[in-house]
């Protein structure tokens, strides 16, 4: 009862900016209208959304970072920050959590190994995501549409989630009122933040700079900016980046410290002080930019302050707490975000910058505090991202040049909402870091500005800080007395609040839709609930297991038993000798694919018992180890075996189950997998799929094989398929061209082991356990190498030889070692044909019948005769032997007995005397066996 809704996606408003290089327009708002419903859902940047995924019940959760479309308007894309659901975290890693996960819990996803660009069409609806304190309990709520974030997940560990991008009307700017009396000497509060800033010091698509660009006078400053950026990028790639950032932040602190009295915007905008302070080029440039920005914003001061003031108010409490204790600060931040929850994440356009900023700042916090090693570990990733931003200045410039008209339009649309907001939004979308930088710089300055008034409100905010919007408003009203610009701010903010309320209402629409959706979901859930022991399905709770034994298994007691244990095929050897080259080839193939995050196929062939599967498993063990050691990105290894499924289409079911744990029918599983491998998603890991006994997956249309080899070629699949079969030319023999072509030419064949290799294998398995004579080993390996080169056979023979040795050990002659005679006996047991022995042991009549058969064959000159013909010969032979001639029934019985042993091949016995008889053994063998009597 799936509700297939047809949605249409449109941009609202004019493009905010245009990227000339990529030919993309950036937008602030996306409107989703559902066919048949008058309500429209508006998605803005910063909002949390659900994105269509393979699991219909659990769509992906993400936050919109940026919205853009191409020139033609055909392609609508969104850059998102992913959150992973519980179900997307590998079950094995869930235990790292150390507690029972909440069903509605999601994790902030921190890993670079995932494409963060999605098609807008895959957006389902907005969702509410609450950031929670890591220690706080989950709110007791039935609301299925609220998700909770406590931790972040980087595909290896859980960490405390970066604090929520301050929602709604609270751009997380500088904690100006809450700062302890002397900001410069309060490192806990400022250091992390400033460090973050310092790293992003230069690439600032500062709103003001943009404005300047639009007014056409920015040419030179842009040039300097990009130069500075380059310098910065360099500094980040240098080993000394940390110390550099430290010194920068220290400077910043000094700066702040030297201007504690600054309170007025006018003062703030006076550049002289700062310029005099800043020594190095970077900070100079920074200062210059900010100076310009402030100077420009002065005339249009209300907008600027509007965007800043909520930040100040909302943000100060956490910062204040942070000042007290750095550790708890993140926690407080989370609390704060919780408090803002009833106003949905991105209610208004004006604060669209804020989540971003908070996000970034949080990241900066994490990375910036170099003191804690754990946080340090997050840095490399970030620096990488940094490198990327450093390379994009030109694009940014282009964006800037376009931004101004867009601004104007937007300003018209939402009257009071000054151009400032969209401006802030635009640069952020492409260069969030620079946005952060701007915000942080502004915050710093504001910090200086509002230092004193902040102190009183600070105290109040500390104990009970703005849990609701109303309180927020009241607190803002409280601040009204702070100054006229503050009053101005407040009035503006009230408007903003109203606005946010309005948008919140708008946001509620989708939520009501969500409830409708959830109701449609219920029937899907009921069947699973309905499963009771009485229904004729596999009980879900059934765990496949063999009962455990009451007494422990005995350990090997002597050398021979020890050797036998080691020689058992099942014992996993420490290493795989004689397959080094193959190991290396497969290893580097898979490793390269995992590192690149691409996909590929490999075909491995070889006769049975040449170590194909064992080698692949060994490779996977090593790679897994490497992944655990963080040398390569984590990957997911699953294996299916054509022989272990009842029909080829079960392959889908097994793959799906091993990937996600879902159970589905073959068709449904195929569809889900198809979706999974063709859509971009927050899939963290490359999947390595081992398909053993590939030939069993053959179907007439070959669609199973086709899909298996087609998925790795998809852009987002990140699937490596290793296939194993016996015949070297399988692709050419059984696959149609389009399948063989997709399998590619990465092939490898395992040659049968030579006798030296077999000997080495046994030696390495025995591992200094002296149980075999040298010659005996050589005999076994030579014999097996000559016959098949099957290592399993070799090991089995050795095992049997130890048994024979053990039996004969009772005799005094035995040396205790497995000798030639034991091996010979074992070889005879396993390889000698039993036909001759069987003929020798047959009864007299049976032997006579065989002779009669040969006689008749010779008479006829054919290799086939009817029973009747043979019987005549048989009776004649009986007379020659002086026996009573056999009756027909007796003769038939003799014939049937020989047929049951397959010494003779017979037609069905209902043909009676007419059935035709053939020999299943060569005539020579029969004659030899009979003569030896």
């Amino acid at each position: 009862m799936k509700l297939r809704v047809r949605r249409s996606y449109e941009w609202r408003g004019k493009p905010l900016s245009f990227n000339r290089k990529l030919k993309t327009h950036e937008y602030g708002l996306l409107v989703i209208s559902v066919e048949g419903l008058p309500r429209k859902t508006i998605i803005s940047t910063g909002q949390h959304i659900l994105i269509e995924g393979d699991d219909e019940d659990n769509p992906y959760v993400a936050k919109v970072v940026r919205l853009y479309g191409d020139e033609s308007g055909k392609q609508k894309k969104a850059v998102v920050q992913w959150f992973v659901r519980l179900s997307e975290v590998p079950p094995s890693k869930l235990k790292l959590l150390g507690r029972e996960p909440h069903p509605q819990e999601v994790f902030y996803y921190q890993s670079r190994s995932c494409d963060d660009e999605v098609n807008v069409e895959s957006i389902l609806r907005p969702v509410q995501v609450m950031h929670l304190d890591a220690a706080a309990p989950f709110p007791d709520s039935d609301d299925k549409d609220t998700l909770y974030v406590k931790l972040s997940w980087d595909s290896k560990t859980f960490r405390v989630a970066p604090p929520e991008p301050a929602p709604a009307s609270s751009p997380p700017l500088c904690p100006k009122p809450s700062l302890p009396p002397s900001p410069p000497c309060s490192p806990p509060a400022t250091t992390p933040a400033t460090k973050g800033f310092s790293r992003r010091a230069l690439p600032t698509p500062d709103p003001t700079v943009m404005q300047r660009a639009s007014s056409g006078e920015v040419r030179y400053s842009r040039a300097t900016m990009s130069a500075g950026k380059a310098a910065e990028a360099e500094s980040f790639h240098s080993a000394t980046k940390l110390s550099a950032s430290k010194c920068l932040s220290a400077k910043r602190r000094n700066m702040a410290g030297r201007t504690p009295g600054v309170r007025k915007k006018l003062e703030l905008s006076s550049p002289g002080k700062k310029l005099s302070i800043d020594e190095d080029v970077l900070s100079q440039l920074l200062a210059e930019e900010s100076k310009v920005a402030l100077a420009q914003s002065l005339p249009s001061s209300p907008p600027l302050s509007l965007s800043l003031s909520p930040v100040r108010k909302e943000y100060n409490p956490p910062a204040a707490q942070g000042a007290i204790c750095l550790k708890t600060s993140a926690v407080v931040l989370n609390k704060m975000s919780l408090s803002n929850l009833d106003s949905p994440p991105s209610p208004a356009r004006d604060d669209s910058t804020s989540p971003q900023r908070a996000d970034e700042r949080a990241a900066a916090w994490l990375t910036g505090s170099a003191k804690t090693p754990k946080r340090r570990s997050a840095t490399p990733k970030r620096t990488q991202g940094r490198g990327a931003t450093a390379t994009t200045p030109s694009r940014r410039k282009e964006a800037k040049s376009l931004k101004e008209p867009a601004l104007a339009v937007l300003a018209e649309v939402d009257n009071e909402n000054s151009p400032m907001l969209p401006v802030a939004a635009t640069p952020r979308s492409s260069k969030r870091r620079s946005a952060l930088l701007v915000s942080s710089r502004i915050r710093q300055q504001l910090n200086l500005l509002d230092n004193k008034p902040g102190l009183d409100s600070d105290g109040e905010d500390e104990d009970e800080f703005v849990p609701t919007r109303k309180e927020l408003q009241s607190s803002s009203e409280e601040e009204e007395g702070d100054g006229e610009e503050e009053a101005e701010l407040d009035s503006d903010e009230e408007v903003a609040a109203k606005k946010s309320r309005r948008v919140a209402a708008g946001c509620r629409t989708p939520r009501s839709k969500q409830t409708a959706r959830s109701s449609t979901r219920t029937p899907r859930k009921t069947p699973s609930r309905k499963v009771t022991p009485g229904t004729p399905r596999t009980p879900r709770h059934a765990t496949p297991s063999i009962p455990s034994r009451s007494l422990p298994a005995r350990q090997p007691a002597n050398v021979l038993e020890e050797a036998r244990t080691r020689l058992h095929v099942s014992s996993v050897p420490e290493s795989l000798p004689c397959r080094e080259q193959e190991f290396q080839d497969i290893y580097s193939f898979v490793e390269s694919k995992v590192i690149d995050g691409t996909g590929g196929c490999m075909y491995i062939s070889g006769v049975p018992g040449t170590g194909k599967t064992a080698t692949v498993h060994e490779v996977m063990r090593c790679l897994q180890h490497a992944a655990d050691m963080d040398e390569i990105p984590a990957f997911h290894f699953i294996e299916i075996n054509g022989m272990k499924m009842t029909d080829p289409h079960q392959a889908y079911v097994q793959i799906l189950q091993k990937l996600t744990g879902q159970k589905a029918t073959a068709d449904h599983a195929a569809a889900l997998l198809e979706k999974r491998f063709s859509n971009p998603a927050p899939r963290t890991e490359t999947t390595v799929l081992l398909v053993d006994e590939l030939d069993l997956l053959w179907t007439r249309k070959q669609n199973v094989m086709y899909n298996l080899f087609d998925w790795p070629t998809r852009r987002h699949a990140r699937l490596v398929v290793l296939t194993i079969a016996n015949t070297m030319d399988l692709p050419e023999r059984i696959m149609i061209n389009r399948v063989a072509s997709r399998l590619g030419l990465t092939r490898m064949s395992f040659q049968p082991y030579s006798f030296k290799q077999l000997q080495q294998i046994i030696m390495s398995r025995l591992n200094k356990v002296k149980a075999f004579e040298e010659d005996a080993l050589q005999l076994v390996s030579r014999k097996v190498a000559a016959l098949s080169g099957d290592a399993r056979r070799c090991l089995d023979i050795c095992r049997r030889a130890t048994e024979i040795c053990e039996h004969s050990a009772a005799e005094p002659s035995a040396s205790g070692l497995v000798g030639m005679n034991h091996v010979m006996e074992a070889l005879n047991e396993m390889f000698s044909s039993s036909y001759i022995a069987a003929i020798k042991c047959a009864s007299l009549q049976e032997q006579l019948f065989l002779r009669a058969v040969i006689a008749e064959f010779r008479r006829l000159g054919l290799e086939e005769a009817t029973f009747q013909q043979v019987l005549v010969q048989h009776q004649a032979l009986c007379r020659v032997e002086g026996l009573q001639p056999v009756a027909v029934s007796e003769g038939l019985a003799v014939c049937q007995r020989l047929g049951a042993c397959r010494l003779l091949l017979l037609e069905p016995s209902r043909l009676g005397v007419l059935q035709r008889v053939r020999l299943n053994v060569s005539q020579d063998d029969v004659l030899y066996a009979l003569k030896a009597d």
Binding site: D790, V888, S889
Partner: protein
Amino acid sequence: MSKRKVKDAPLPLGDCLTEAQQVLRERFCRQQLPDRPEGVEAQHKHLLELLKRTAVHGESNSVLIVGPRGAGKTMLLQCVLRDLLEETEVQKNLLQVHLNGLLQTDDRVALKEITRQLHLENVVGDKVFGSFAENLAFLLEALKKGDRSSSRPVLFILEEFDLFAHHKNQTLLYNLFDVSQSAQAPIAVVGITCRLDVLELLEKRVKSRFSHRQIHLLSSLTFTQYLQRARTQLSLPDNFPDSKFAQEWNEDVTTLCEDKSVEEVLQRHFHSSKDFRSLHMLLMLCLSRVSVAKPTIKPADLLDASRLCLADAKANMLHGLSILELCLIIAMKHLNDVYEGEPFNLQMVHNEFKKFLQRKSNSMYNFDQPVIMKAFEHLQQLELIRPADSSAAKTQREYQLMRLMLDHSQIMEALQKYPQCPTDVKQWAMSAFG
């Protein structure tokens, strides 16, 4: 003699005989295992050690027991299991799964049966839930979760092993052997088959995973041993309630076996087949003839029983035919002689029969065509003749080509014994030409 026994025996003779018959019948019908397997001690030891290692050490194994029908394969396995389960350690741990290729005709059925016998968790009562694919995945998962030291060992016994090799893809065999060759729950796979070429039936991957252990049961029995065996089979055990009766019975059996004619009969059976099943059948027939009036087995009983065993079924059927049907058979025989085994049809047979009638003046065998047709059809129903090719349904019944399913010797033998066979018919049959 019987009177003396009645007097001396503490038990009445009738009770003694009933008791003796019961003991011996149990033995002959293989309901009772022998105390120790005779002639296969080495194989017994090998198998016992092998299974013990699985049960005690958790070592996975696979083995095939191969031997002709009636060679004692199942008996050997049962003996080994009985001896194995005497150890409490084994008894507590070992799980057994018995499958038979004639019962579990495909993997779907076999899987359900395995799951049921293992009492896995998807079994409720006696019913196994889930689809084939689910069952397979479930079982494999169960086996995979186990490990050598902690899981209970499972013994899989596959009777008529060769029939499992005909299942699609040999999925079951592959998986069982694969488990036995990998570090999973310890299992022992014991296959029982009479086909010597069983390994050739296995697909190469399956074959590679099989350990290639084969236990061959081939009896290299001499006639003296056979005779000895027959005697011990007939003898009563020492713990028989009436020891005096037992002693006398055993003495009688010894004298019986020394009888020349008895020896000849047994020799003939020995030449025909060395297995004990046919011997048991023979002795069973003898035993059934023992009564209070005739409390011992006489050589004549054995001769009668032997005749009964070796009697030709088809020849016996000929005794029940009418003269007309017999005449038709003879006509067919002559046609076979003339045309060297080429098929014939009703018209040809009728023609041959008419030639015989023409030579005879009297027309006592003058039958109408429909009557002959009916007789012909009756012969077909008795499967004494069968259509030469099955696709001849279109042709008229008179012209459908047929083959005779009898050998000449059978026809002649039947004619000798046919009650009141007319001489001219006999002569016609004997004559070289129709």
